[in-house]
């Protein structure tokens, strides 16, 4: 994680001096399917049939993110970003509320490829579709609360964090709004091949259940909308059409 942070800072530093750099603020939500964790929740429901409101499975994730986009070459950008995700499963029963939260902190380095722009002056496009590939590391913080008290494992509060890695891919479109702001709807798919959430089952169930695993493959499909602020020489980078119109006026 430390290395990723250093690399990110270096990228930001080196590219901030160049044209077509953006600061991206984004948010959105998505679908998360941590299979083994959901299986554990199902087993929790199965073993506690007296719970009237069942514990919902993890399905949705809310995301907030901060990123940076800098040009590497025409049509090729690098986008390191950092995002916070929260997935929540809450059930409310008389005398027995259960709140399971998964907090995911993701650091990614993405390559944004603008396939229509290779060899062209990219500033001339209002709509700039792109394909994203990337990868990075995540910190996962599972938290289980029963009646607002943290779950325990062997009498110790269960508040761990775990590290894992992910691969990401996506598609999106950068849309020119004005000289300062672009907006960028994009869909991103994150895949974490091995998310090990140790003792999650112990904390949730109070016992080891042999058929339940603490290791999940996690897929996450995100629907995000980014607002991008141009940095540095951004004000000079007006779209081509605008520049042409200006020149024509000058001829008159």
């Amino acid at each position: 994680m430390k290395n990723i942070l250093i690399i990110t800072i270096l990228f930001v530093f080196s590219f901030s001096l160049r044209a077509q750099n953006y600061l991206n603020l984004y948010g959105g939500y998505g679908i998360t399917a941590p299979k083994e964790i959901n299986k554990s929740i199902e087993t929790f429901n199965y073993s506690r049939p007296w719970l009237i409101e069942k514990q919902p499975l993890f399905q949705k994730t809310l995301t907030l993110g901060l990123g940076y986009t800098g040009i590497l070459a025409k049509g090729l950008f690098i986008s390191p970003d950092f995002q916070y995700n929260i997935s929540k499963s809450f059930s409310e029963n008389a005398n027995f509320n259960t709140n399971i939260e998964m907090h995911w902190w993701r650091g990614n380095i993405n390559l944004d490829i603008y396939p229509l722009e290779f060899g062209l002056d990219s500033v001339g496009f209002r709509f700039r579709p792109f394909v994203r590939v990337g990868g990075g590391a995540s910190a996962i913080l599972p938290r289980i609360n029963f009646n607002d008290s943290l779950a325990t494992v062997n009498d110790e509060d269960y508040s761990p964090h775990f590290w894992t890695y992910q691969f990401s891919g996506g598609i999106g479109c950068r849309i020119y709004l004005n000289r300062i702001i672009d907006i960028m709807p994009f869909i991103q798919y994150n895949f974490q091949p091995s998310v090990k959430v140790e003792d999650f089952n112990l904390a949730l169930h109070g016992t080891n259940i042999p058929e339940l695993s603490n290791v999940s493959k996690v897929s996450n499909l995100q629907f995000l909308l980014s607002v991008s602020f141009k940095l540095g020489r951004a004000r000079e980078l007006v779209p081509e059409q605008t520049e042409t119109k200006t020149r024509k006026k000058k001829k008159k």
Partner: protein, 463 residues
């Protein structure tokens, strides 16, 4: 396209973007446990914690349940005495071990106001004096022997050695002889026997798996059996009492379960939740006979006698904050029965397992009381113990309970790995649950019995 058109299109696209994840989520499979296809019939034998809970689970998942209990009452080793006003005295299972267990959740859900932490401090019987844990650890007179004992006890889960008893291991560790009775109370007696009957490898297995926590809980104004009656009343109403099972024939398409009075019940499967003692003494005949490894497991897992003797006094002679008195030579552990429940009840429970239980069980009730009063008088020389005894007592001898015949299973030498073998289903027709089949470290507990219940029911439903 100008900006206005762009914004219009974006606005039109936003609802789609908003609803797409929900739509996709709804398409996702709702149930990962989708293999619960069984909707046949199951005979559950035994109406203790495991049997009652298993029957409830089976009905919840669509199975038809015939529930048989050998005795005239339900509850198994959950039993309460209500003869003394203002307090429900647990004569069997008493404590909810830890705060992360299915039993704790059940209590939290059903009787949250009744659930309280185990009250009081522990005192240790050392050279006829009562000492605190801090004294045992820190006293310079003991030269670290007390601290060593607690360190040994705390490290059982990582025991690196081979097969030997706890008593042998303590000798190998040269535990100070003054601490042997305390160690016996904390290990052997706690697990339902004596240190010379507990196997280190089996103990390691149990300690390693134990995860529900050490913070004991009790129900201040309910008994554990009442908790089950509240939570599973409909299931309890359907238990067929006085149906001691004589044989289980699983040769045919259906399992035939025949009782001692000649009734035969048929079902697709049978779930056996009787105590290990009943399997050990061959009270139930299996046709065909169980496999050799299963019989070997039944033989290896031991269960001894256990006594609870409750005495009432006119006034307390103990310190007000007393919880337990640990390490007696006659009674390994006493506790103040009314602590947290009814402080004015002035009751003491003597909790005796293994050889000491056998010795006391051989005496008349009057002799038992005399022995206990003598020991308490040594511990409280100025307490006028005998003078304060008001002649009210309750003696619970679990060996004498029909169809139970003992306290609970313990980690006997050679039983390591055998609980999983005992728990394994036979030919998809005969299933086993109960505390002795818990191989997750929660043997000998109510929550362990319940856990074995949902493990077995899941096996049935997935079959």
């Amino acid at each position: 396209m100008n900006r206005r058109i762009l914004l219009k299109q974006l606005m039109m696209g936003l609802p789609a973007a908003a609803f797409l994840p929900s739509f996709l989520s709804s398409c996702a499979k709702e149930e990962l446990i989708d293999s619960f296809k069984f909707n046949g019939s199951v005979i559950v034998i035994g109406a203790g914690a495991s049997g009652i809970y298993s029957a409830n689970l089976l009905r919840n998942y669509g199975a038809q349940v015939i529930h048989l209990e050998a005795r005239a009452v339900i509850g198994g080793r959950m039993k309460a005495n209500t003869s003394i006003p203002g307090i429900k005295i647990e004569l069997g299972a008493e404590e909810i071990h830890g705060k992360r267990s299915i039993l704790y959740d059940l209590a939290q859900f059903n009787v949250p106001d009744s659930l309280i932490p185990l009250p009081g401090d522990d005192y240790y019987h050392l050279e006829n004096q009562l000492r605190t844990k801090n004294f045992l650890i820190e006293s310079s007179d003991l030269e670290g022997a007390g601290a060593t004992m607690f360190q040994i006890i705390d490290s059982f889960a990582s025991y690196p050695g081979g097969a030997q008893s706890v008593a042998q291991y303590l000798a190998e560790k040269e535990l100070d002889a003054r601490f042997l009775e305390i160690a016996n109370a904390l290990i052997g007696n706690e697990y339902g026997a004596d240190n010379n009957k507990i196997g280190m490898l089996a103990l390691k297995e149990a300690e390693d798996g134990y995860s529900s926590g050490e913070e004991g809980q009790i129900l201040k104004d309910k008994s554990l059996l009442e908790l089950f009656e509240i939570a599973f009343s409909e299931d309890i109403n359907q238990v067929k009492l006085n149906k001691p099972v004589e044989s289980i024939n699983y040769e045919g398409a259906q399992v035939a379960v025949t009782t001692e009075n000649g009734e035969t019940f048929f079902a697709d499967k049978v779930l056996v939740t009787v105590p290990i003692s009943i399997l050990k003494n061959n009270s139930i005949t299996f046709v065909p006979s169980l496999a050799a490894d299963k019989l070997d497991a039944i033989d290896a897992i031991k269960m001894d006698n256990g006594l609870k003797i409750v005495l009432q006094f006119n006034a307390p002679f103990w310190e007000g904050n007393t919880g337990s008195i640990i390490g007696g030579t006659k009674v390994p552990e006493y506790w103040i029965t009314g602590a947290g429940k009814n402080e004015n009840a002035n009751l003491i429970t003597a909790f005796v397992m293994g050889e000491k239980a056998e010795y006391l069980a051989g005496l008349s009730d009057a002799q038992k009381i005399t022995e206990i009063l003598e020991e308490l008088s040594i511990l409280y020389p100025t307490g006028n113990v005998s003078g304060k005894y008001n002649s009210i007592n309750i003696v619970q001898n679990w060996l004498q309970e029909a169809y139970i015949e003992g306290a609970y299973s313990y980690p006997s030498p050679g039983s390591e790995g055998k609980r999983a073998i005992l728990a394994a289903p036979v030919k998809g027709k005969v299933y086993f649950a109960g505390e002795a089949t818990n191989f997750n470290g929660h043997l000998a507990t109510v929550h362990g019995a319940m856990e074995s219940g949902y493990r077995a029911v899941k096996e049935i439903l997935e079959a």
